[in-house]
């Protein structure tokens, strides 16, 4: 903590501040462009940092890391396409808000919540890195398996429609995750076509599942008269939204805490923090069925969680060199290039650079919120683009974004095929969010189960390995609670609906 304050002024040198501001603005734009993932943005910038001072280079990467995640929310809210898996939960309520003419308000909620969550996460990181690093180290195969299972229990809650369809979509996603060569066993699975040899990578899947159905939907409505919703910038809503946002204490705190916890779990994919927080806020809400129709609490929960994740996700990264998300993995490469090796050494012999980096992340949260709010004022221009032009532009960006992840046209084919399938699925009531969650969690669940099984068989046996130990038991309890609560609320909902129809029948 002391070191943090001591080195804080280093982040304020003119050159570092300039890089911070440019990185933030650039990151917001790149993040807001559908099809371009934060991972790609950071990977593109790593070579730029070669010729910079280590601290300045890291300030740039940190600013871009922070702002692309928030920028992804812009396209999620305005055109229903998330910039990163982190933003999926944002669009569930953010896009309905935009459709109701509240795009600007939704964006304000998004950036203010991001700031609150982001600062919360950074504070936790600055104060509690050593104990949290100890906890992160405790997560082995059995614990990770249960974490993945917990994520799977969330799937049912991510659709506003049928629970069964939500779960079916999730299973489909889990199945997609096993396509290609099994990294553990080296066996090909479900490689029906040559393009599937490498499996389905997360970014092409994300782009396909969200952008392609959106393009076709735009086409469906392309020549219809639009409902006259006012997209004009509204004056004076900033402060009102600000006050309203801070009153949503429950959503903010659940989001921030869930985001922080998931960030600390090494390799869990901070990618799912938003979705899990969204589900928790929904479960604790008095009116869970308003979620998915434009409830601002959904946006608040999702965005506070995925920015709260940024700081804590650096704990396993900086102390154990275990990245929590693909973007963090690229960031790790950026650190290594400058001779900064994660571990205790980083905080001792490279304290100056490390703490400057951390300080700049705090500043980046503030800059991201400021410039984000400013950009939100112009959101109406995006909403005014005619559907036809929007469909064409989004397609080009989707193809480009998918291609450039690993320079592969095969990925583009996979993206488009999966997207077309999703479009058909959407027509009959499936949604994309559980599918993406399945793709992310599938590998985590399978790999850790197999690894755990191998280890258990040399040691205490399968049952004892997976069902003993405090951490295992805690996560199993959480899984049980999650399933139990979902079932309970489903039954209650069913009874309510029945009572309503009965009352109606009696009335008529």
């Amino acid at each position: 903590m002391l070191e943090f304050l001591q080195y804080f002024p280093n982040a304020l040198t003119p050159i570092n501040l300039l890089v911070l501001v440019l990185g933030t603005i650039g990151g917001l734009f790149l993040g807001a462009t559908p099809g371009l993932s934060p991972t790609m943005a950071v990977a593109l910038l790593v070579p730029f940092t070669f010729h910079m001072e280590p601290a300045t280079g890291l300030v740039l990467l940190g600013a871009v890391y922070t702002s692309t995640v928030a920028g992804g929310a812009i396209s999620a809210i305005l055109i229903n396409i998330p910039g990163a898996p982190a933003n999926i939960a944002t669009l569930l309520d953010g896009h309905p808000m935009a459709k109701q003419g509240q795009a600007q308000k939704a964006l304000y909620f998004c950036f203010i919540s991001s700031l609150v969550g982001g600062l919360f996460g950074m504070v936790i990181m600055v104060f509690f890195t050593p104990p949290l690093a100890e906890i992160a180290l405790e997560f082995g195969p059995s614990e990770m398996f249960w974490v993945a299972l917990f994520g799977i229990t969330v799937m049912a809650g991510l659709t506003s429609g049928s629970v069964l369809k939500g779960l079916l979509g999730g299973m489909f996603g889990l199945l997609i995750s096993v396509i290609g060569y099994s990294p553990m066993l080296g066996v090909p699975r479900f490689v029906f076509l040559d393009v599937l040899t490498g499996g389905v990578a997360i970014v092409p899947a994300l782009i396909g599942l969200f952008a392609v159905p959106q393009v076709f939907s735009l086409m469906e409505t392309a020549f219809q008269q639009r409902d006259e919703v006012s997209f004009k910038p509204q004056k004076g809503i900033l402060w009102r939204t600000f006050a309203e946002n801070l009153k949503k204490v429950k959503a903010l705190s659940i989001g921030s805490v869930v985001g922080t916890i998931i960030g600390v779990i090494p390799g869990a994919g901070g990618q799912v923090a938003g979705l899990i927080a969204y589900d928790q806020v929904r479960k604790f809400s008095r009116d869970p069925h308003s979620f998915g129709t434009g409830n601002p609490e959904g946006v608040v929960a999702a965005e506070s969680a995925n920015n709260a994740m940024v700081g804590p996700s650096l704990i396993p990264l900086l102390t154990l060199s275990v990245p929590g998300s693909p973007t963090a993995a690229v960031l790790l490469g950026g650190l290594l290039i400058h001779g900064l090796f994660p571990g205790p050494d980083l905080f001792r012999s490279h304290a100056e650079v490390t703490y400057t980096f951390i300080a700049s992340l705090v500043l980046a949260q503030v800059a991201m919120c400021g410039f984000g709010l400013l950009m939100s004022r112009y959101s109406h221009t995006v909403m005014k683009v005619p559907d036809l032009e929007m469909a064409a532009a989004v397609t080009v960006l989707a193809v480009y974004g998918t291609f450039s992840v690993q320079n592969s046209l095969d990925d583009v084919v996979v993206m488009f095929g999966l997207g077309t399938l999703m479009y058909l699925g959407r027509k009959v009531g499936f949604s994309a969010a559980p599918v993406v969650l399945g793709i992310i969690l599938g590998t985590i669940a399978e790999d850790n189960f197999l690894k755990g099984k191998l280890i258990a068989e040399t040691d205490v046996g399968l049952f004892k390995y997976f069902f003993t130990g405090h951490l295992n038991l805690i996560i199993i309890a959480l899984c049980a609670a999650s399933v139990g609560y979902s079932t309970y609320s489903e039954v209650r909902q069913y009874q309510k609906a029945k009572a309503q129809t009965r009352a109606k029948e009696a009335g008529s």
Binding site: A43, P47, G180, T197, G198, G199, L320
Partner: protein, 328 residues
């Protein structure tokens, strides 16, 4: 007369044309490269191969070397197979597409899997690094040396879990060699890369592991390093014995070599040019400085040395691996 008068300029023109063509041909070889070169890295951005590749090629744009930058393209998947398959079948042969290789990974894969490549699908250019595998155990492990380790494994066959970066990578080969040489049985746990494999050892989730010397060197306060799978001790870890010194016949076949290849069918002039420039570029003070700062062991080898190394490794692995396949 007219004919004669006419023929002189004609002859001159023809001569000039021929000269121009030859010169042009020479010039084409001399001006190569005249646009940026792509280099395929078969692992994700941020991994050891990726960032080392970025460091060793950072000076390519310098006038002294290629005068054109090298752009890294990541094509990860299936332990590198996706990228190498693509490179072997679709990589352009005009010298503007290069790829990095990892030995023994790609050779072992070409023996064990139906890949579209083997050592003959690539033209070696140069090698920049060699990272030996080291046997590591958690800090609080009861094993203090290879002898303890082997003695325990003999009494408890299959009870020692050994983590490594994946199937048929150097760490896996080292595990197999150790099993064979010491007559013991271990349980190999393939992980998704060197970093998670290291993590399992540090956290005590597995009893031991094979990992990159450079990574073990950086984490040495949290580990015990028992032995190096190489012929000599390494300058980073002068106190750690080799397996041979510890009385176990494990050689350097698992050392992870990293370098650059062209696809088969590339023009000899281009191979020659790159094979001349790359070792010099890898040896530049700036590159060496960055490599040292990032803890990456450097081993520069020329094209001929790499070709020899490929052939030796293939021969050895062809002997080692099929027995294993049968054992399963």
């Amino acid at each position: 007369m007219a004919g004669k008068r006419f023929s002189k300029p004609l002859a001159a023109a023809m001569l000039a044309a021929a000269l121009l063509l030859t010169l042009g041909g020479l010039a084409a070889a001399q001006t190569y490269p005249d646009k940026p070169i792509s280099m395929i890295v078969t692992y994700s951005p941020g991994g050891a191969t990726d960032f080392q590749a970025r460091i060793v090629t950072m000076l390519a744009g310098d006038k002294k070397y290629l005068d054109q930058p090298i752009v890294i393209i990541n094509k990860p998947g299936a332990g590198g197979q996706v990228g190498w398959n693509w490179f072997a079948t679709k990589g352009s042969k005009d010298g503007y597409t290069l790829a990095t290789y990892n030995v023994p990974h790609f050779i072992a894969q070409s023996i064990m899997y139906p890949t579209k490549y083997n050592i003959h699908a690539f033209e070696a250019v140069a090698n920049w690094g060699a990272d030996p595998a080291v046997l590591i155990v958690p800090k609080d492990s009861p094993f203090n040396n290879v002898k303890d380790f082997v003695a325990f494994a003999k009494k408890n066959p299959g009870k020692i879990t050994v983590s490594g970066a994946g199937m048929y990578v150097g760490h896996h080969i080292a595990t197999l060699q150790l099993e064979k040489a010491a007559g013991i049985k271990l349980t190999y746990i393939p992980e998704k890369g060197g970093v998670p494999a290291m993590q399992s050892v540090v956290a005590g989730k597995v009893k031991a592991g094979f990992n990159n010397l450079s990574d073990a060197f950086r984490n040495q306060d949290r580990l015990k390093i028992l032995a190096v799978a190489d012929l000599e001790r390494h300058e980073f870890l002068p106190k750690v014995p080799t397996f041979k010194e510890a009385g176990i016949n494990v050689d350097n076949s698992s050392v992870n070599y990293r370098g650059v290849v062209l696809p088969k069918g590339a023009k000899p002039e281009i191979i020659k040019k790159l094979a001349e420039v790359f070792p010099k570029m890898f040896g530049d003070k700036k590159v060496l400085g960055k490599m040292k700062a990032s803890g990456s062991p450097v081993k520069i080898m020329t094209r001929d040395q790499v070709i020899k190394m490929f052939a030796e490794r293939e021969k050895y692995l062809q002997g080692l691996l099929p027995q294993l396949k049968k054992k399963k």
